[in-house]
């Protein structure tokens, strides 16, 4: 089947294109995405940290070096940005921004008045110390300003922690033990990054779709010539020697097309040459046969005279005369057979169809040659068929003659018929034929044994018999019967088609 390989090629090309596109899009979009995301976050982070530093400056001068919860809350309030989320620690005590009352041991404060309220009618989130990662606290406790991204209550934040540092007169700094932490919302950045990701996906998807369309076009462009090539090759194989394909462009496919055309042209030339040689050979045989006919006609005319006079001639001359007469007959038979087979070869052999009683035809063939007593027949009556009696007689006479000459008796002829076909089986009860011989019995001039270099007959008998059968659109086959003996089966259509009308 032709479509399967081309579909396979198409699928493979599509897959390769899609894969290439996905990998490229993923690399480009992914790279840009990561870069942009980092940039956005970095910038937001830098700004937030800078702002935090500024706000921490505002804590100074400190009201007290050992603040209580209220002072801590004020400090947290000071460092918080617009999200209002900040917390201050000192000595195990903490307070969040906006908590007016002293915090309990651990309870975070609820403060409805904190700005900005994220959504009206809903309590704003209140920071609890657990939101601050311990690793960050350790760094801050070490005296560094530090930050970390966290997700708190489902939203992204940047937590910035700063120690409150006291600068002494000798420019020495000293950790006061107060730590302030502020949360900076990264929601806006997250939206930007999400938008970026969506864009990346969209562009990737569009690129993929584009790639698929492109791949389809490309595969069509590649596959059409390939399909055309396949079709042309098939036609060439079927004997359509004039098949060529159009060469478009100058790419590799065009090269293939050119090569194909050159090959086809070469092939056509060779086949033509071979056919011409064969036709020449056949014409030669036909011409030779025809040329032989005129001298043979003269020879045949006098051979009878010679034969009849042979008895009266003195001995060597008499035998010579008989020999000449006999060989003239044989030569006549050979030339007639050659002419007959030339007619099959040149396609001028025609059927002269007649409706006949097949059993009567078989009996007439046997009777005409004096074989009626030698051959056992099974001929059901009233089987009629439309065939060329002369040609069927030639076939039958050849088959029965061979069986009588080369096989063992009893020789039998059996007729079977169905509504569309008749079959005539001619068999003997000899040893049958070798497998190797079976394959070649219908070959021209085939001799079953090299020793029998020249048997009776021209060596064309079975070839002519088969051609006659095929002219009827039937066939002649040979097999060895299971219980021994060669069996030739002639199958003929009962109502042979008559190509030229013929007699009704």
């Amino acid at each position: 089947m032709a479509p399967r390989p081309s579909l396979g090629l198409r699928a493979r090309l599509l897959f390769a294109f899609a894969l290439l596109c996905v990998v490229t899009a993923a690399a480009v979009a992914g790279g840009i995405y990561v870069q942009a995301r980092n940039d956005i976050l970095q910038r937001a982070q830098d700004a937030a940290v800078q702002a935090m530093r500024g706000r921490v400056e505002e804590l100074f001068p400190l009201r007290t070096a050992t603040p209580g919860p209220d002072e801590l809350s004020d400090m947290a309030e000071t460092v918080s940005d617009q999200s209002g989320l900040a917390i201050a620690f000192y000595n195990g005590v903490h307070a969040t921004a906006g908590s007016q009352r002293p915090p309990g041991q651990n309870a975070p404060n609820l403060d409805p008045g904190v700005i900005p309220p994220p959504r009206p009618g809903r309590n704003p989130p209140v920071l609890d110390p657990g939101a601050i990662p311990l690793s960050l606290r350790e760094k801050v406790a070490g005296g560094d300003i530090a930050w970390q991204r966290v997700v708190w209550q489902g939203e992204p934040y940047l937590v910035i922690g700063a120690p409150v540092v006291i600068v002494e007169q000798d420019e020495k700094t000293q950790v006061s033990g107060i730590e302030v932490y502020a949360l900076h919302s990264l929601l806006a950045e997250k939206h930007s990054i999400d938008g970026l990701a969506v864009s990346a996906w969209l562009i990737g998807g569009a690129a993929l779709a584009f790639a698929v369309v492109l791949a389809l076009l490309a595969t069509r462009g590649v596959l059409r010539p390939v399909r055309e090539l396949g079709r042309a090759a098939r036609l060439l194989g079927e004997g359509e020697m004039r098949t060529r394909i159009a060469v478009r462009g100058s790419d590799e496919l065009a090269d293939v097309a050119r090569t194909f055309n050159n090959t086809a042209a070469e092939l056509e030339r060779h086949v033509k040459q071979l056919r011409e040689m064969e036709a020449d050979a056949r014409r030669f045989v036909a011409d030779v046969s025809h040329e032989l006919r005129t001298p043979l006609a003269a020879l045949a005319a006098v051979a009878d005279v010679l034969d009849e006079e042979a008895a009266r001639l003195p001995e060597p001359a008499g035998r010579a005369a008989r020999l000449v007469s006999q060989e003239t007959l044989n030569l006549t038979g050979l030339v007639n057979d050659l002419i007959e087979i030339s007619r099959f070869d040149s396609g001028v052999a025609a059927l002269a169809l007649n409706e006949v009683d097949v059993a009567e035809l078989v009996r007439a063939t046997l009777r005409a040659r004096g074989w009626s007593e030698l051959v056992h027949t099974e001929l059901p009556p009233a089987v009629t068929a439309r065939l060329d009696p002369r040609r069927v007689d030639v076939i039958l006479a050849n088959l029965v003659g061979n069986a009588l000459r080369h096989g063992e008796p009893p020789v039998s002829v059996r007729l079977c018929a169905d509504p569309h076909w008749i079959a005539l089986e001619v068999r003997d009860h000899g040893p049958g034929l070798d497998e190797a011989v079976l394959l070649h019995v219908f070959d021209r001039f085939y001799k079953a044994s090299a020793a029998r270099a020249r048997s009776e007959g021209s060596g064309l008998g079975l070839a002519i018999a088969r051609e006659n059968a095929r002219l009827h659109r039937g066939d002649l086959t040979v097999a060895n019967a299971p219980d021994g003996g060669a069996m030739f089966t002639l199958r003929l259509p009962r109502w042979a088609h008559d190509p030229d009308g013929g007699p009704e």
């Binding site: 005319a301 002419i339 007619r343 007649n354 063939t365 002369r390």
Partner: protein, 228 residues
């Protein structure tokens, strides 16, 4: 039945074949006049009055078909063609030109001899009554066929075919049967002989050969005389 002396006009251009056939036929008791061209043959036809003409179709100058037609134009002498094997169209054309029978070269003299005997054989004259079939009267004794009282000139083979068919009016004769009884060809003769002869016979005795009354075709079987 004429036996022994029959006059054969042999028209054959190849000297060897001509001489061979002349030799063989003479040896079988025929008086053979052998000529090498159609023109000579037509001359001899007038002077020799042969019983049968054996005519090679491939002749230089006037070809065999033309000779055949000219012989038919002047008389009903039986004509046997010598044809080349494989030249089917020649056979058909020759039969249409009026030949009675044909043999394929290279021919054995005894085959030719048998065909000559067959075309010359006469029908026995034992039935004496005059038969009437419509407008046609057949005198089996005098071997005269007349249509509306006018004698119709029939070649011997045509006459024999008509006598054979009209002997059993209404009965179908297969081509094989007719080949055996009229041409003495045996079972496997060329049925085109019958068809060609029927055509010629119809042209002479039917009012309209396309719608025959006397010699009717029975499709797939053969021919039948009448019923009128």
């Amino acid at each position: 039945m004429i036996r022994g002396v029959s006059r054969v006009l042999l028209i054959e251009d190849d000297p060897a074949v001509r001489e061979g056939l002349e030799l063989a036929l003479t040896r079988h008791g025929h008086r053979v006049r052998a000529v090498e061209s159609g023109e000579q043959g037509l001359d001899r036809l007038r002077t020799d009055l042969p019983d049968v003409v054996v005519l090679d179709l491939m002749l230089p100058g006037m070809d065999g078909f033309e000779v055949c037609r000219r012989i038919r134009a002047v008389g009903e002498v039986p004509i046997i063609m010598l044809t080349a094997r494989g030249d089917d169209m020649d056979v058909v054309a020759g039969l249409e030109a009026g030949a009675d029978d044909y043999v394929v070269k290279p021919v054995q003299p005894r085959v030719l001899e048998a065909r000559i005997g067959a075309v010359l054989r006469r029908i026995g004259r034992d039935q004496a009554e005059l038969e009437r079939h419509g407008d046609l009267t057949i005198d089996r004794a005098g071997l005269v066929v007349a249509k509306r009282g006018v004698p119709v000139s029939l070649a011997p083979t045509e006459l024999r075919l008509l006598l054979e068919l009209s002997g059993t009016p209404g009965r179908v004769h297969s081509r094989q049967q007719l080949l055996e009884s009229v041409w003495e060809h045996g079972y496997f003769g060329d049925s085109r002989l019958v068809d060609a002869c029927v055509q010629r016979l119809r042209a002479k005795i039917e009012d309209d050969s396309a719608a025959p009354v006397y010699v009717q075709t029975v499709r797939g079987f053969g021919y039948r005389f009448g019923p009128v």
